[in-house]
Symmetry: C2
Subunit: 331 residues, 2 copies
């Protein structure tokens, strides 16, 4: 009997690091086990039309959110979709492609958590939340290198998008199981932070996280890695901090602790993830590697059924999408 | 409360007259009430790829039939689809379009009745079945005028497609509620038959047809129009014959009898349907007009709920499409 696919949602503003996170996950899980879907493909208008209408790609009205809902439902049930395709290099909508979901589906984009119907079909929801000055550096780097813009054009575009970011993108943070924030250490200029970036993972108790309390017992034993109770809004959360300066040994120890929760799964090569592209050069970041490993833990755990879900997920009322089924949750 | 759309399926081989039938229906019902979907849009491969692979557009493997099934389900429930688009003029697959079904949906194409799941979502199913020599004349006319082929190329293409026509297209005739056959009168060469073509409508008792038994009472009173009991395979059917030579008065009388079953509906201008294009010239055919009127009768009747459905349609088991709903049948 075939299992349904496990769906990971990665949402964040433009250039928040979605593709970087995803590429490590694909390596960890294996490309033959992962289907990658980008919600940018669901744009209603191409680049020229958006300019004519005066709408940004971030606005819900610029996207077929209803089709996205239906397609998420289909993927959740392991069924194929005929996915629209937006070509970023030309800014046009082109021939759709037939997508048959594999064991894991990574859905990555701007508006993936924007409706309750969409949200109910994810097994794990991640929101990427870099400080705006770091995101600006990332966006300029990428759009100049890959999409042929000047830095000034990128800044102008970001300013034009700011009100939509505030209205439609950032509120989705509230729906994530895990909020990931990379940020530069104090006194390091944001442009040069690269491999020194720290990661702060806000772990909401909406999914069962691995037991990392060893980190709390004696902080001096694991410099560069901390787990602390905190509040996110009014809700209690765990906050996992991984410094960019963490020693390889301490990073490895945390990876091992995460990994020991999945004893049945084949070992994974540690040098295959945690990499990112910086001016066409591959670099490694331990905070990035640990973030990817933790997400992989959640995906494999859901898929293998190693543990029961301690938190029942709400089963939604009849979906507008199919008038029928609530998603299959737990197992 | 909004009603669900009524879906008419029109299936037939290439150049069997699908578009000609449809265009009169759109006029009869009003363009603002009709959504038109062509299943050619669900081709998996574009023209170049089909040539490379050596597959015809008629083969099920050349079409996303599963996506077609899902989209039919969506349309049945009044929900929008993001429909793929095949551009016949260039033979390429292009940007999909968002289609919100109106009151009536006409789904026209080669393989519309090829699976049980598809078939359950139509309210009325029509198969067009001209004799092959007439279809050859029609196909040459169209493909030379509109698609830039030579007559020899069209004949070669038809020969290449013949085995797929026999295997996949013609068996769909069995699933139609109405089989429409235009054919030339004896002694009229098929190339010149045009406005003299007779129509033979095989009316299966799978949907309730209007009472036309007046035609049986005294055949001499309505020359050019006949209703006879017959067998189609082993099943009893009504066969309605309309000669191309029928007098305008007798054609009008039959139209009135059909129309009197729908007294509440606004009168329709008789000169707005029954037209067809012959070498860029519009011509009129009474058999065509009556065929279109009868189909309109079925669509309006289903939509208005004027009569109850005397025949319960089979409610399918759980659909593979959504694992959920059987279609809404009857009212």
């Amino acid at each position: 009997m075939r299992k349904r696919p496990i769906i990971l949602g990665i949402v964040g503003d433009s250039a928040a690091g979605k593709t970087t996170i995803t590429s490590g996950l694909v390596k960890l899980l294996g490309p033959d086990r992962v289907t990658h879907v980008c919600t940018d493909d669901y744009h209603k208008y191409d680049r020229r039309e958006r300019a004519e209408i005066g709408i940004t790609a971030l606005h819900p009205d610029c996207n077929y959110l209803d089709v996205m809902e239906l397609h998420l439902e289909r993927l959740h049930y392991g069924q194929p979709i005929l996915k629209p395709v937006y070509d970023h290099s030309t800014g046009t909508l082109v021939r759709p492609e037939y997508v048959q979901p594999k064991e894991f589906v990574i859905v990555e984009g701007l508006l993936g958590f924007s409706s309750p119907i969409m949200r109910q079909f994810y097994d794990v929801k991640v929101y990427l939340n870099p400080p705006e000055d770091l995101r600006t550096v990332w966006k300029i780097k990428r759009d100049v290198a890959k999409r042929g813009y000047t830095p000034e054009q990128v800044l102008a575009e970001m300013e034009k998008r700011e009100s939509d970011s505030a209205a439609f993108i950032r509120p989705q943070r509230d729906h994530a199981d895990i909020v990931v924030q990379f940020y530069p250490p104090a006194n390091v200029p944001v442009e040069e932070a690269g491999p020194t970036l720290n990661a702060r993972l806000t772990l909401r108790p909406t999914i069962p996280h691995p037991d990392l309390t060893y980190l709390c017992e004696d902080g001096s034993k694991s410099p560069g890695v901390r787990l602390e109770l905190g509040r996110d809004g009014s809700r209690p959360v765990d906050i996992l901090e991984i410094d960019g300066s963490v020693s390889p040994e301490n990073a490895r120890r945390l990876e091992d602790v995460i990994w020991q929760h999945l004893p049945d799964l084949s070992p994974i090569q540690g040098d295959q993830f945690g990499d990112y592209l910086d001016r066409s050069e591959m670099r490694h970041s331990d905070p990035l590697a640990i973030t990817q490993l933790l997400l992989t833990y959640h995906l494999l755990r859901q898929y293998s059924g190693v543990a029961d879900l301690p938190f029942a997920r709400p089963v939604a009322a009849l979906s507008r999408v199919s008038q029928t089924a609530a998603p299959v949750v737990g197992r």
